[in-house]
Amino acid sequence: MSTQQPLLAVTGLGKSFGGLKAVSDVSFEVMPGEIFGIIGPNGAGKTTLFNCLSGLLPLSSGAVHLDGRRIDGMRPHDICRLGLARTFQIVRPFQGMSVLENVKVAAFGRHPASADAEHHAHLALRRIGMDHLADLDAERLSVAEMRRLEIARAIATEPRLLLLDEMLAGLTATEAAALCDQIRRINAEGVTILMVEHSVPIISQLCGNAIVLNFGEMLASGTTRAVLADARVQEAYLGSAVS
């Protein structure tokens, strides 16, 4: 593309559990400012890949660089501090905490004083349009609201790169559309986004570039349009009959 340095560079990433290769030889680059997609059927290794990138799992091989700095092998909280935040596919708020307190936990990373953290937690909630729910017990939220809370927590760490893990799965069409708008807005505010998604229409709507995983291997990478047109992708993921 350009001479610009990629924000995230993944080279030859592999992860095995015992003899089972969950992910092998995955390489891609995410440029600052883009929304990058990872597509793949269930069990393709998408979540494992995310766990490797965010430091929850050690890599078996390969390297991950964030803005030129090698981050694999670092602890998750250090990676978070360097500007990589993630959401979890299985959303679970911290129990016994209000929506605001949940986000405050994340905001404390950059704002050690309680009042500062609270202020920035409110800002994060406002960005995702749920500040009016701040004082609610987080466990009383609906599924769609919990997803947004998950994003609010992640952006409260003030990341440069945001990893979204299947944020739209199980939402109604309206909820999904609203969340897509919010993801776009966060991206427009300067946060680069790497998203795992099951649904092809959403990826093609949001992402300029994408890779496709199947059985832990990279089938294709490039612009989303080219990737989705790839014959192997059509066969493996969409089923061979899709035009």
């Binding site: 929850l56 909280h77 978070c80 911290f94 129990q95 936990v105 994340a106 309680s114 992640a154």
Partner: protein
């Protein structure tokens, strides 16, 4: 500001009132001393168990470190509390960091962490019980000294009660300050979901060590006060597993989710145990213990949230939103 420290202030005021009420009778003062001392240690224990999800079954180790540091410091070196209390705190800090590093480094969680802490305290119990210069299982007396004030030796029990009021107040206020600041949020996040917390920038290891260290130091100071108050330490009462279990029971009955829950548990169960001993203890041998156990079972069945949990829910009921939502859900169910 006042609102933030209310959970520390109210129990402190109640403790002062109880202290004043106990001044009339040395027997009451003795009960007040046990409630205040063990209750405060239980509060420190609960910072780990209730707020961070680290259930230690080996806190008697730190209590024993405090008690034996004071006893041996005086018997062996002629040191008074001014020297022995800080040494006790440092020794407890070092032990907590050592055990914590070992447990957390290898990812011990849940029951495994509890059993590991229990093992450490049992080893200490056996070692001390077999060590000649620590008095073996017979324990050690702290000899009375002509320089009474330097060794905190008083003719009456009430000055110890006063010290314990201070210990209780300090522990409650420090705990509440920490719980309402960053560490408290991080601890609760770690208790609930360590992976998610770490991904949100919570340094798990550092904050688990922090709560362990704080809890251990307070517990050791409690042990030190115990030694000075009773002028006697032995492995059974300061290092035994009974003490660790007591902390657990006070926490569960009082309410684990609350700063003052374990204190409430102690304030209820220690006098209850005394009452049962007085009224039933002279009869059939052991019947008071059976009654105490029954009391625990009934309380645990009736109040799964702990007594404090019920009280806190009562206080919160002023907010009308929750019952309204419940009523709505009921109405919808009825309509279907």
């Amino acid at each position: 500001m006042l609102r933030r420290f209310l959970p520390a202030l109210v129990p402190t005021l109640l403790a002062i009132a109880a202290f004043c009420a106990s001044l009339s009778d040395p027997y009451f003062m003795e009960i007040f001393i046990m409630v205040g001392l063990i209750g405060t240690v239980a509060v420190a224990w609960n910072l780990m168990a209730g707020f961070t999800g680290l259930v230690s079954l080996g806190h008697s180790l730190f209590f024993g470190i405090g008690a034996y540091t004071v006893a041996y410091g005086q018997v062996g070196f002629g040191l008074g509390p001014l020297a022995t209390w800080p040494i006790a705190a440092l020794l407890a800090l070092a032990s907590a960091l050592f055990i914590g590093l070992l447990c957390f480094r290898y990812g011990l969680r849940g029951y495994f962490f509890s059993i590991a802490t229990l093992a450490f305290s049992e080893v200490a119990f056996l070692l001390v019980s077999a060590t000649l210069w620590l008095g073996r299982s017979d324990g050690m007396m702290l000899p009375s000294s002509p320089d009474a004030l330097r060794y905190l030796q008083f003719d009456h029990k009430w000055p110890y009660g006063l010290i314990i009021v201070g210990f209780l107040a300090l522990t409650l206020f420090i705990s509440q300050a920490v719980l309402t600041a960053r560490p408290g949020y991080y601890w609760r996040a770690l208790r609930d979901n360590e992976g998610a917390a770490e991904a949100l920038g919570v340094p798990a290891m550092r904050y688990k060590l922090l709560v362990f260290a704080l809890s251990a130091v307070v517990t050791a100071i409690g042990g030190a006060i115990f030694a000075n108050t009773f002028a006697f330490v032995d492995p059974r009462s300061t290092l035994g597993v009974e003490l660790s279990i007591q902390l657990l029971v006070f926490g569960i009955i009082g309410g684990l989710g609350l700063l003052w829950g374990p204190l409430l548990g102690a304030a209820l169960l220690i006098p209850a145990g005394e009452l049962l001993r007085n009224y039933l203890g002279s009869g059939f041998h052991g019947v008071n213990i059976v009654a105490y156990a029954l009391l625990l079972i009934v309380l645990a069945l009736l109040l799964p949230q702990g007594l404090g949990g019920v009280l806190a829910a009562r206080l919160r009921r002023r907010a009308p939103e929750k019952p309204a939502a419940d009523a709505k859900a009921l109405a919808m169910e009825a309509a279907q």
